[in-house]
Amino acid sequence: MTTDPAKARLVKGATGDWEVIVGLEVHAQVTSRAKLFSGASTAFGGEPNSHVSLVDAAMPGMLPVINRECVAQAVRTGLGLKANINLRSVFDRKNYFYPDLPQGYQISQYKSPIVGEGEIQVDLTPEHSIKVGIERLHLEQDAGKSLHDQSPTMSFVDLNRCGVALMEIVSKPDMRSADEAKAYVSKLRTILRYIGSCDGDMEKGNLRADVNVSVRRPGAPLGMRCEIKNVNSIRFIGQAIETEARRQIAIIEDGGTIEQETRLFDPTRGETRSMRSKEEAHDYRYFPDPDLLPLELDPQYIDALAASLPELPDGKKTRFMADYGLSPYDASVLVAERETADFFESAVNHDGIKRDAKAVANWLMGDLAAHANAQGIPVAEAGLSAASLATLVDLIAEGVISGKIAKDLLVMLLGDDRGAEPRALVEARGLRQVTDAGVIDCAVDAVIAANPDKAEQAKSKPGMLGWFVGQVMKSTGSKANPQAVSDALKRRLGI
């Protein structure tokens, strides 16, 4: 049975199929030492109000001055999204009152963003990908944080985050399911991390999304959308979309209409709740910030940034498949994190020898990844160097150790023998596999002698060979070369 992918992602309602339309506004904190318009530190986790400049606190007469590094990061990101970089962009003021917004306005780019239209290729499966359009990317200030739990009668404000640079990356409404939206966010996160313009740490709130959801009958015009604010994990983004789509479908199927509104997702109750309707929407009174000149960029400046961009995940995946003969799946997994991809490449090419890339990939994505995942750390930081992984693969290829021993060796290298040289460790622990025919013949003879009935049966049932190999391996502490054992058994058993 074949499934039409377009049909598979439709949602079944009581009255028929529905198509879900999703667009995302991702807020990504720019990696920079200082804030967007002040010299205050962007470090996470400082004492409340310890990273606050006079500008951030909006003291009288203070003026913003653009941080060039944040501009470079936005341009680099735009280039990574294959987007148009606008040579002229303008900072506007978005006016509203809130205690964590000292200026009474957020400096943002409303009409003229720094980055225009672009595109991301999103892999849904290793073989199937979709393109998601980027509408724009603009720079803006983050707000501070209101703390309502410090006193029964008062609210406190922490301005450490206030003024930190954010990139708002707006997608086109090109996604048709929660899975597509999740895949889009993880791909976007991968690109940002490759470029180094955002660390993508969703737990710290450094990457969060406003999710726009609407539903329609397949082929019908777009329905009214609702915006779910500030969803801070990929899992919750998926849940929020599914919950919201179901809510909208239920309303329409009951004869109701969807009101345009801003909603919040409550993951514990698994529902979205209305925050404010269109009527209650703020009038932000946007206008160009007269304290800042329009941001004008030189084409040569953009070219220089483009030249300094690292290889991005799509390019790397294609190259891994071509250069190392990896499957699309393996290549996708390896390039998801730049550090993993780099680790893989240095292991494959260690010491100037090109070794079996598939074997390296298998170890990396198998035992090593399992070990790292169990500890919740990236593969590249699990404690094994790329050189050690390369040596481990070499030891197997050279027949010095068996695959089984290699697994044990890896556990040692990640545990008590952390940092040891694998080849030396094999010698020190006597793990070298036994290939000496005399020794193996002895072991084989002993096993046959101890199991004469089975040896007799094996002559007519060659399938028993496996059992005999197991017994010999056991008796040699797994050090015997399994191929040599198998050959010797066949000889002695006459099969």
């Binding site: 009288p60 203070m62 003026l63 009474g104 009174r285 007269p290």
Partner: protein, 506 residues
């Protein structure tokens, strides 16, 4: 002994340098004069200890033959400028008790060059006003007497809420009154729509609003960011030139501040006017214009022609749109700039039940009626549905005004001569109480200059038939303050130095 407060800034500078007088002496003389003139309400804070400390340090430097261009010269500072550890409220109640931990770039430049700070000067609240009447600290009385008033009559009025006395103009009313009354050698002021030039004209002193970007706005309480510019008020063109040279200069903390080096403005004084072309814009001749102002303007043009300049008629056709456009742009920016005064971090905080209540009570009580009016106008013109009709159109008009000037300057005109104000100083309480536009009309000759970002200098050009000072305005090319100083001094020479008002208050 000579009256040390009657010296010009340049004279005092020379006498300090030659050690004929000391900074402590001249500073003390000014502090005493300020004390005696308290009733004028020009100063809202006097920093006597700090002044004497700075003066002592200046004397020590002068004794060693050292010191900056303003070494030991006592000046006053408009309350708009942040002065470290000293009252800085832009004369608003909402900044109640605010003492910044930082010093504005402009005042820091002045102290770097050796100036001595006497105190903070009164002004219209957040520089919004043309008569100094919107100040939380009350109006300032001009040292100039209303026509035919006796000194006794004026002293009685001072004691009686200043009724009938004249305004020194605004918003830099404290600055203009202090300079004219000899309560400082010069003062800092600021100009968003005429706040340096109109007070200069009303009090017979010299004021220059330099090109937008010539002085840093860092540490100057913002009113309308795209229009605000710092500048000096002084008793002579030379004194204004000396002051501006120290105030101006590049500042990496203000993105709109020019990186260009500051010329020696004093060096422009005494240059020949011969060969300069002066434009006289016909659009500044308003219907029903005060005949005395019209005569003064013609006389000014004649003085410059006699001095060797060529005077030509020019046209600035978009002038009539300037005032309405200004009263959209300036309030729009102000409505956003003043949003930070919310009672949360500093200044006034009224007791309140919740955050909305805090905003409403603090801002409702902290801002005076004129400021509230402009914040409402500003929020209105920026709001959805009105933005294009008001703000966008006003910006278009602004571009047209700028182009008018560019065209005239490209046709070979070096400076433009206009009246400074539609009339001589008016009385406290006389204007604007029924219709705020009546007060706004005071800026009709000055706002175009801010809208175009150009430099404008006002110099005294004589007295009205009633004995009140009148001024003329010179508008220059961007960053060509030097030509304005050259021409301003020529006007000053032709008009003869206006006599200073008698010290009837003392």
């Amino acid at each position: 002994m000579t009256d040390l407060t009657s010296l010009t800034l340049a004279e005092a500078r020379d006498q300090l340098k030659s050690r004929a007088i000391s900074s402590v002496e001249i500073t003390t003389a000014h502090l005493e004069a300020i004390e005696r003139a308290k009733a004028l309400n020009a100063y809202i804070v006097t920093t006597a200890d700090r002044a004497l400390r700075m003066a002592g340090a200046s004397d020590a430097r002068l004794a060693k033959g050292e010191g900056g261009p303003l070494e030991g010269l006592p000046i006053g500072v408009k309350d708009l400028y942040a002065t470290k550890g000293v009252h800085t409220q832009a004369c608003s109640h909402i900044l109640d008790g605010f003492k910044p931990t930082y010093e504005s770039t402009v005042t820091a430049n002045l102290w770097r060059d050796g100036a001595v700070m006497l105190g903070k000067l009164n002004m219209d609240e957040f520089a919004m006003g043309s008569s100094n009447e919107t100040s939380y600290y009350g109006p300032v009385a001009s040292p100039w007497l209303p026509p035919n008033w006796s000194h006794d009559q004026a002293r009685a009025a001072l004691a009686n809420g200043k009724r009938g006395l004249l305004t020194p103009g605004g918003s830099s009313g404290g600055s203009s009154a202090a300079v004219a009354a000899r309560l400082c050698l010069a003062a800092t002021a600021s100009d968003t729509g005429g706040s340096i030039r109109q007070p200069a004209a009303f009090t017979g002193v010299v004021g220059i609003k330099p090109t937008y970007g010539r002085c840093s706005r860092w540490g100057m309480v913002a009113f309308a960011s795209s229009l605000d510019q710092a500048g000096p008020l002084a008793r002579t063109v030379r004194d204004a030139a000396i002051m501006l040279r120290s105030m101006a200069g590049p500042d990496s903390k203000d993105s709109t501040c020019s990186p260009a080096a500051v010329p020696d403005y004093e060096g422009a004084l005494g240059r020949s006017v011969r060969g300069l072309t002066i434009g006289v814009p016909k659009e500044y001749r308003l219907d029903g214009m005060n005949a005395e102002i019209e005569t003064l303007w013609a006389r000014g043009a004649e003085w410059l022609r006699t001095a060797g300049a060529k005077v030509v008629d020019v046209s600035l056709p978009n002038t009539r749109h300037a005032l309405p456009a200004y009263y959209i742009v300036a309030p729009a920016e102000a409505s956003s700039n003043l949003a930070r005064y919310d009672g949360v971090r500093y200044g006034l905080r009224e007791p309140a039940a919740d955050i909305l209540d805090l905003y409403e009570k603090t801002r409702g009580r902290g801002f005076g009626p004129e400021v509230r009016r402009r914040l409402l106008i500003g929020a209105y013109v920026l709001s959805a549905g009105y933005y294009d009709a008001y703000y966008v159109r006003a910006q278009k008009i602004r571009t047209l005004i700028k182009r008018d000037f560019e065209r005239v300057f490209s046709e070979g005109v070096d400076a433009i001569l206009t009246p400074a104000t539609p009339s001589a100083a008016f009385g406290i309480g006389e204007k604007g109480s029924q219709d705020p536009v009546e007060m706004y009309l005071n800026d009709v000759f000055t706002v175009t200059v801010n809208m175009a970002g150009l430099p404008g200098l006002v110099a005294p050009a004589g007295l009205s038939s009633e004995g009140l000072p009148l001024g003329l305005q010179l508008i220059g090319r961007p960053f060509d303050e030097e030509t304005l100083f050259t021409l301003g001094e020529a006007l000053e020479r032709s008009a003869g130095r206006t006599s200073l008002p008698a010290r009837w208050w003392a």
